[in-house]
């Protein structure tokens, strides 16, 4: 009786998981299938699940109709630069806040925590003025610099270094290493796994970024992938096949990172949730 009930429960669980799984993965399948369809086939009713005729040339058109390769390069450049700079600077600041005693440390820490409460979008007006004043409009600098400082990353790295063993620092000091040397040669390498987890989250976030580039970028040769896609969507609103192929291409870098480093991402997300 109980065994039968348990079996029934399991069957129910499995069905639910499968049903939700289908809903979650459906947009991927639909995107990939549509990317190989002719435009005519996408516009037909009822819709077909798989392409009746395969049109791989949609993917060629992505790169010939618009400079999509250029957008990919721009997005990659911006996302990698932000990620690398943010990781290094946040690790530095997190370490300093965690291990050093100095005047004003608590005040500084609470100020950094405080910036986490400020929604970025409520800063648009002054940031646009700042960008004008510093010549960041329509430049990569303007795309990169505002996203490097981030209270959350500093906070996370500080949490990590709170557990950094004092003995290691003392041993380094006995060997005559300066504080900075101790940081760069001993503390920093131990943080690589945490940095990798945080780094993937930064990369995906910056690859995704849309509103800020939309505001400050004007010239098409500086478009990032999301801007390129939206421009594509506006100009070729009926060219669904090519648009879907572009969508597939735009997702490849982040999907690849995700599949390759899923464990690290999960570790990073878990870490971010623990703070509670």
């Amino acid at each position: 009786m109980t065994r039968r009930r348990r079996r029934l429960q399991r069957a129910l669980l499995r069905t639910m998981m499968l049903a939700i799984g289908v809903v979650m993965i459906f947009p991927f399948l639909w995107m990939v299938a549509s990317a190989f369809k002719s435009n005519k086939e996408i516009l037909q009713y009822p819709p077909s699940l798989l392409p009746t005729e395969w049109h791989p040339e949609n993917f060629v058109n992505v790169f010939s109709d618009v400079p999509f390769g250029r957008y990919m390069f721009n997005s990659g450049f911006v996302a990698i630069t932000v990620t690398a700079a943010a990781l290094l600077l946040h690790t530095m600041a997190g370490y300093a806040l965690a291990v050093f005693r100095f005047r004003g440390r608590n005040v500084l820490f609470f100020m950094i925590i405080g910036t986490m409460m400020v929604p970025f979008y409520s800063l648009l007006v002054p940031l646009l003025q700042l960008s004008k004043a510093l010549g960041w409009i329509d430049s990569f600098t303007g795309l990169i610099i505002p996203w490097i400082p981030h209270g959350f990353g500093i906070f996370l790295m500080r949490q990590y270094f709170m557990d950094f063993p004092r003995e290691l620092r003392d041993a380094a000091a006995v060997d005559g290493a300066s504080h900075l040397r101790t940081f760069f040669h001993i503390a920093l390498p131990t943080a690589y796994p945490v940095m990798a987890a945080l780094g993937i989250i930064y990369f995906i976030g910056n690859w995704d970024r849309f509103l800020w580039p939309l505001i400050i970028i004007n010239s098409p040769d500086k478009y990032t992938v999301p801007l390129g896609l939206v421009q594509f969507q506006g100009q070729y609103s009926t060219q669904w096949g090519t648009l879907m192929a572009a969508a597939v291409v735009a997702s490849i870098p982040t999907l690849f990172l995700f599949v390759a480093l899923q464990k690290r991402i999960v570790a990073g997300v878990t870490m971010s949730g623990i703070k509670g």
Partner: protein, 308 residues
Amino acid sequence: MKRFGQYRGTTLPRRKVTKRRSGEGRAAAFLLAPDVIGLALIYVGPILFTIYLSFFSWNGISPDRTFVGFDNYQYLLNDPSWTTSLHVSLLYVLMYVPLVTGGALLLAILVAQELPESKLYRTIYFLPIAVPIVVGAIVWQLIFQPSYGFINYLLQLVGAPPQPWLSSPTQALFVVVLVSAWKQVGYFMIIFLAAILAVPREYLEVASIDGAGAVRRFRSIIWPLIRPTTIFVVVMTTILALQDFDQIFVLTRGGPNYGTYVQVYYIYDQMLKFLRMGPASAASVVLFLIIMTLSIAQIRLFRGANND
């Protein structure tokens, strides 16, 4: 305390100890400077400047600004597009937060089960996080397309009438919430999953032996123990919901008929379309205050419920 070292019998002279501490200050300054300058430039300065600008009339270009007191805030209250945007944003939160929090919790419970396929489903549910939101929006746009989209085809199969989706103000809001929820739910599932897996197994086993069913075990053991996580997720999803913009821009441009005209969209329009920096700043300050107030209120509310 200063002579602590002497009691321990170390040979470090006091002067050296002092010197080392001052070295810490210098090292800390070096390590912290770039971030602190960055945060001051990108966050602290701008938030102060936003508050300042909210009391001025300015088009963002001309060198002169006029002090107008609270006129910009008055302007918001009298501007139907702002009151609409406030209404839309609150509706957005009311749909998004329960959907994502409840959905993430349900998914976490499902994939926490020890079934052979659980790991695979974790990946599947988490996968949309790796899809750029603009891509997600474009794909869902095709799926929800009224005349040849897949959803209306399904509706027709079960005999339901086709829906206008993105061309209807109320349904459009539902679709933009759904697109964002689809992308984010896996992230919060992982956070819930970590909390559920951290619940000591002995508690659950003992309850099981005492005859508690799955529902009872969840309600009496897991739910109270994961409460801090639940608070965190509710606060985070609220903050995210109030700042969603990207998929709205792609799918509806705030329409139809202001149906998806959220607060950020109002700020965007005032700033770039109408060049009214005063109302844009005032709306930014209000958004900031709403987010702060809601976060604090939610934390208080959950703490209160916890003390019962």
